[in-house]
């Protein structure tokens, strides 16, 4: 059981370019990701949207696996700026986990 925390999204969102919520959950990004990780990027951002902070932090490594190659962005039918969103997420992890 995970408690939904809507304010977590505000914590991660670092710029006006952050738009993970525009996702329509088609899964194309995951299918084209050259890293082939199930979590990237759609499900990872689901955790952010819903506010499952633990899940996000649990996957710190995954977040840094991203190549920022924008393969996902190129193919996203909903124009989600995925690479930008990953950057926001990294900035959050930097603050939260690495205390940078």
């Amino acid at each position: 059981m995970a408690r939904v925390n809507p304010s977590f999204l505000d914590e991660v969102s670092c710029s006006s370019d952050f738009n993970a919520f525009a996702c329509m959950n088609c899964g194309v990004c995951t299918a084209v990701c050259p890293m082939g990780l199930d979590l990237l990027p759609r499900r990872l951002f689901r955790y952010v949207l819903i506010g499952l902070e633990d899940k996000v932090i649990e996957n710190t490594e995954t977040i840094y696996t991203c190549l920022l190659c924008k393969m996902c962005e190129e193919n996203c039918p909903a124009e989600v700026k995925i690479a930008e969103n990953v950057k926001c997420l990294r900035s959050y992890i930097n603050r939260k986990v690495f205390k940078l």
């Binding site: 329509m24 959950n25 088609c26 899964g27 194309v28 990004c29 995951t30 299918a31 084209v32 990701c33 082939g36 990780l37 199930d38 979590l39 759609r42 499900r43 190129e74 193919n75 996203c76 039918p77 909903a78 124009e79």
Partner: protein, 445 residues
């Protein structure tokens, strides 16, 4: 030994007497000289020869003739044209040596028939390059070979370059055979002026061109087809009477439908839902179940939009029949060695993450786009479009079908993607509005 026509090229002086003689003997009307069946040539500057039908054993002309108008005389071996000729010119196209011609003046196909055993060309050849005899002329130099205009191989190659053999050659055969006289080749476009009080624009939609989604390989992979092609395979008047896949004519047994091809997709600049693809794909999947009971069918979707009356029930029925529904938009399609296709997707509902699946036929459920021709029907700028380039309904809620031009109404998919029931209702509305408009005009007079 029977007489033959012997050609000795080095004797030929390209005087064209043979051509004139040929034309002369075949002319019925001096105003319309016959096209000669023999042609004299000069090539490479100083080499002369003639070309005429070889009566060759490889009788391509005879075989391609659709009406059997060319026959070989069993005794003389001469190929003749009979009255069954319909002027289709297929033989002319087929002759590897280019020795059959269409005579436009006399409207007939001409080929050498050796003048029924007394060729005039030989009679009038002043240099004895052409002789009609049982043996070649004694003074013929055996080392002199005929260097033809084209060798057989070259000629065949050239003939094969023609790409239009199967197209209409205006042979008029269709006109002749149609028992209802339904084919009229002399019909031409005609401009008519109609005076009307009101216009209903019902110009429909355009289909998304699947080539524009290159990751799906349409046009590159033979077994990726559009749903319109599948519809043809399934229709009661289907061409093959079976559902078959293009690459090898095999009956597919594992078919995928890729929904939202060109819809809800900003990468192709169409953010709208096309409204009909979910249902037509489900319909097709049910029909395929009927035609190929053993086939596996998978529908890849983002959301199933079975919103109309009885639609959801229809979708559930398909599920019960065994159609697999997979939530996940197909990201990419790749071809395998045997022309099968691998689709890549995220199995969202199954929670299985990144997956791929092999299918032997993939159907792209292509979406609907506005038909922008509608906007050019009236003087420029009059008929307003909405931001998606559909004809704009200026008061959709209360006056569905009303456009920016007074008295002009729009019906069906010209103003938005619509399925048939909604198009019919919308058309009924446009009709009512047009009638009311005309009634008002009448009252105002």
């Amino acid at each position: 030994m029977a007489k033959q026509l012997f050609v000795t090229p080095y004797r030929c002086i390209d005087c064209k007497n043979c051509e004139i003689a040929c034309s002369f003997i075949h002319t019925q009307d001096p105003q319309k000289p016959a096209l000669p069946r023999i042609r004299a040539y000069t090539f490479k500057g100083d080499v002369h020869s003639v070309a005429l039908c070889q009566q060759c054993e490889e009788q391509t002309c005879l075989e391609v003739c659709p009406t059997g108008a060319l026959v070989r005389d069993p005794e003389t071996g001469v190929i003749k044209r009979t009255d069954a000729c319909i002027l289709c010119r297929t033989c002319a196209l087929a002759c590897p040596y280019g020795n059959i011609h269409f005579d436009p003046l006399n409207k007939e196909i001409v080929k050498c028939d050796l003048c029924d055993g007394d060729p005039f060309c030989a009679k009038y050849c002043p240099s004895r390059a052409l002789i009609w005899a049982e043996e070649p002329a004694p003074d013929l130099e055996p080392e002199m070979e005929v260097e033809g205009l084209l060798g057989e191989e070259e000629a065949r190659y050239s003939a094969n370059r023609c790409l239009d053999c199967g197209g209409c050659s205006e042979c008029h055969e269709c006109v002749n055979v149609c028992p209802a006289d339904a084919v009229k080749l002399d019909m031409r476009d005609e401009e008519q002026i109609l005076e009307v009080s009101s216009v209903i624009v019902s110009t429909g939609f355009n289909l998304f061109d699947a080539h524009l989604k290159p990751t799906y390989g349409y046009g590159r992979y033979p077994n990726v087809i559009t749903a319109m092609q599948m519809d043809r395979l399934l229709s009661p008047t289907r061409p093959f009477n079976h559902v078959i896949r293009p690459s090898d004519g095999k009956r597919p047994d594992n078919i995928a439908f890729v929904l939202c091809t060109g819809s809800r997709d900003q990468t192709v600049n169409n953010r709208l839902c096309s409204r009909v693809c979910c249902m037509y794909s489900i319909k097709q999947s049910q029909l395929i179940m009927g035609a190929l009971p053993l086939a596996d069918i998978t529908i890849y979707y983002i959301d199933i939009r079975a919103f109309g009356k009885g639609y959801d029930e229809f979708g559930e029925q398909a599920k019960a029949m065994g159609v697999y529904f997979v939530k996940g938009k197909v990201a990419e399609i790749k071809e395998t060695e045997n022309n099968n296709l691998t689709v890549f997707y995220e199995d969202i509902a199954g929670g299985d993450g990144l997956k791929d699946a092999e299918h032997d036929l993939v159907v792209l459920s292509v979406g609907l786009l506005p038909n922008i021709d509608a906007l050019n029907l009236f003087d420029e700028g009059l008929l307003e479009a909405d931001i998606y380039s559909y004809v704009k309904e200026i008061d959709e809620d209360i006056n569905p079908g009303k456009t920016s031009i007074d008295g002009v109404f729009v019906a069906g998919a010209a103003s938005a993607a619509r399925d048939i029931p909604d198009s019919i209702l919308h058309a009924g509305a446009a009709a009512a509005q047009a009638a009311a408009y005309i009634e008002r005009m009448r009252a105002d007079k």
